[in-house]
Subunit: 125 residues, 2 copies
DNA sequence: ATTGCAGCTCACATCTGTGTCAGGTTTTAG
DNA sequence: CTAAAACCTGACACAGATGTGAGCTGCAAT
């Protein structure tokens, strides 16, 4: 599979795939003409990378965790890092829930005119 | 209250407070010597800003929502924006939960030697 | 009055994942 | 064989919140 195919299958830009490789998150085999070749497992790998990116992990953090997943290697350091990231994500979720609750509060308030809130027709910029 | 006091009370850097003002999120009254003066309500305001920042809202988004909160003004646009941000946060929470579940899966696997996973002593860089 | 800390503005640096352009090579279709 | 499409490297740009430094002014205590 060439890079464009992988990009198509994962929905990730070609540029990003090259960047992942540069960051050591993704490997490829180079064919005779120097073009990257990927096997099917790369799709799963890219999906995982995206998953972790979407959770706010940096490429460096992902790089640190990948050996656990891929080569199934577990070191004391990697276990610590995994736990730390898990905690961070938990905290992040808590932040988001608090923010969502706050927004809900505001929405409730601003959605009911009887709350005493001022309804106007146009945006106040 | 001067800017340093506000920074102290909120745990936000002085630089950031000036930035918030630049972005129209925070206002101050200038004393005779051009120094910013804040009243007590500024603390609450900065806390709110931080809450929204931590939920991933941009300063522009926050700027758009603040009138709803502060001057209690509700426009069709602001109600739409509020709902949109709420949805975005919901999606972000879902992403995080998925990532956390994935990490849990990995942690479970890498934490139990009988899983067939390789335990090594040093990090594989 | 002097010293020293706090504040002011302006401006440039940082970090990260991506976009984008240039200039060149490989692969593929016709 | 040729043209188009895909790929390659390298490099620069961006956005956004914050860090940092220079050079100057205000304020408080001695």
């Amino acid at each position: 599979m060439r890079i464009g195919d992988l990009a198509g299958k994962t929905g990730v830009a070609v540029r990003s795939l090259r960047y992942y490789e540069e960051q050591g998150l993704l490997t490829s085999v180079r064919g005779c003409g120097g073009q990257r070749q990927y096997d099917e497992s790369a799709v799963e790998r890219v999906d995982l990378i995206q998953l972790l990116y979407s959770a706010g992990l940096s490429s460096k953090a992902i790089r640190g965790l990948l050996p656990c997943v891929v080569s199934k290697a577990s070191t004391p350091e990697s276990r610590t890092a995994l736990a730390a990231e898990r905690e961070r994500i938990d905290g992040q979720i808590a932040d988001l829930v608090r923010a969502r609750d706050k927004l809900d509060e505001i929405i409730l308030f601003s959605g009911s005119p009887e709350s005493g809130c001022t309804w106007v027709e146009t945006a106040q910029v």
